[in-house]
Symmetry: C2
Subunit: 389 residues, 2 copies
Amino acid sequence: MTNTIETLPTPSVVIYEDVVKRNCKLMHDRAISLGVDIRPHMKTHKTIEIGKFQTETINIKKIIVSTLSEARFFALSGQFKDILYTVPIVPTKLAAAAHIHSSIDVLHLMVDHPDHIKAMVEYRNQHLGALGNKKWSVFLKIDCGYHRAGADPELPSTIKLVEQLTKSLSDHFVFQGIYTHSGHSYKQTSPDGIAKIATSEATVAGNFAKKIRSLGYPCPIVSIGSTPVCCHLPNNLKDLGVTEIHPGNYVFYDLMQVELGNCKVDDVGVHVVSRVISVYPERNEMLVDAGSLALSSDPGCTHLPDRAPGFGIIVGDNNLRIVGVTQEIGKVSSVNGSPIDFNKYTIGSIVRIVPNHSCLTAAMFSNFNVLSTESTTQVKETWIPNKHW
Amino acid sequence: MTNTIETLPTPSVVIYEDVVKRNCKLMHDRAISLGVDIRPHMKTHKTIEIGKFQTETINIKKIIVSTLSEARFFALSGQFKDILYTVPIVPTKLAAAAHIHSSIDVLHLMVDHPDHIKAMVEYRNQHLGALGNKKWSVFLKIDCGYHRAGADPELPSTIKLVEQLTKSLSDHFVFQGIYTHSGHSYKQTSPDGIAKIATSEATVAGNFAKKIRSLGYPCPIVSIGSTPVCCHLPNNLKDLGVTEIHPGNYVFYDLMQVELGNCKVDDVGVHVVSRVISVYPERNEMLVDAGSLALSSDPGCTHLPDRAPGFGIIVGDNNLRIVGVTQEIGKVSSVNGSPIDFNKYTIGSIVRIVPNHSCLTAAMFSNFNVLSTESTTQVKETWIPNKHW
């Protein structure tokens, strides 16, 4: 039996192929128009299918992953041969990384501390040939103001890392360039604020590249990212020294991206399908069978002024919001207090939910139900994402 | 090769068998000492093994689940024949429920609205024999003040539900009694506050049972729950009319339960094992490879006064807290600002994390690494939890 949205078990996730393809094309075209490359991130969806949409207009299918399990998954597909694992590499993960690196063109790793470099040299010396006679390929992660990962570009020790990667230890390394991530863009309150972060990230990254080049070191790639920033890039991006962008969440977007002004509700490519499990007219509330395991417990953009709290909105009825989640249950309230239409939301009826954070929501499901467009109810395919670690 | 905690891939989850068994025994003994039954919840761990620990001292292994996938999982094990699915039942789930009900002694379902009852009658009339010639076995969920699921015990329509289940539609139903869940216990700020909720829940449930019995309806079971409440039960629980308790989270506990005063840190039976992936002495911070997918994005007891924000604490170093999570990365800061010992927390070194919310954390992992005690590093077994829906 072919599933339709009405026969899906709930909770389920549905993906709109046309929306995802459109999001991929627009972001690709934006990069092209600004004269930079795009190296898309896989972590939001973790599927071969969407990875192909993200890269089909690119000559070299360069992708980014957030776990070695994802790296293995995309490498094994045979379709992605240039993969960047963006989390600073720990010594115990070098064996797995070397294996993947030897099986494809290149697995780039991320470093931001001399101990990463030291461990990689030791590993390569102790396991001759484990990398398929390749050198380690690395990006240097620098901190553009987010203060999560990344070496401080103002510290002399950061220049020393470049020196090691490109000169004194260059027998072991192919230095690709620098990489930044502007996660603080999610804490802005307006597109203008995000645009300022975009310019700031590009400037920090571009200036550091110029600085190290002026010291005689190479720096082929200058990669900046985060989906909010990639939605508000400056026109002089290339002049600032950036060579590529690396967005991820944009394939699906989500309620946070809508509320930050990075997309419209119609651009959200993933919904959680849920059913009304009970109604409580006496308190103008109802429950659905999507809770924190289906929607995640990410409260979203709580820093935005006047933002109604909650974990998602009901598609087609923006006044209805998931105001609370427990493990398997979501509570729906009317934001402005107007009466819920309980003739429409009968027990067992289907609702679609725009989740706060599509990366976390998608990670909760073992399969994605693909619909061509939001207007069809027919499930055309099932895509199986990579899971866990 | 047998895994030790040092060779586990990270992030991983470890479970301390002695702690979990102790938690199970203490909660069981508490119920016995108060003269009530215990019907333990499986949703926190979703494993056959822990389900056995929770029920091994009970004659009839009565358990609770939060999804029909869990119900199927525990039914298929052949070891659990009395299962309660606690989410209000929707019409489209009746076929699966009937199948499970017919395969074991009983699958109890939960109702709190006349439309649940109507759909069950229609299903049974249309699918003669689908239930293995059984009637539907049901609990009535009533609202004890949490205002999530549950019929309002003050409304005449709630008495009408009992009338339907026990008289006018009794050909279709075996009425088990009433069930309440005091999720608002998690919003208290002290054990005293939780104890008040416990007495209030027991009183609301007990009084409703007395009321319907006085009207001539049966009410064999009066079941109350939530782990906080079950940690602070009144001595006159039985006199208030309660016949059983149904805690779930207590098998593992977590940081929220510690902070609410329901257990000690040493009672937490589940830790996330993670590695330091980079260090930033210049800002007294470090990163670990456990982020929102390993720890969940549940911010925990943010309502507690003076509670430091975060998503977990480092075991053995309560001053170190996960102050922020992104998908695969946790940021560790020193709560009181004292310098982190970076000689101890070198890149690649193992940390164990007490997560805010063990139910959500456990749900993120496909396997649980079992250690006998916290003092051993040897993984003795791997338990496989039920996943998804």
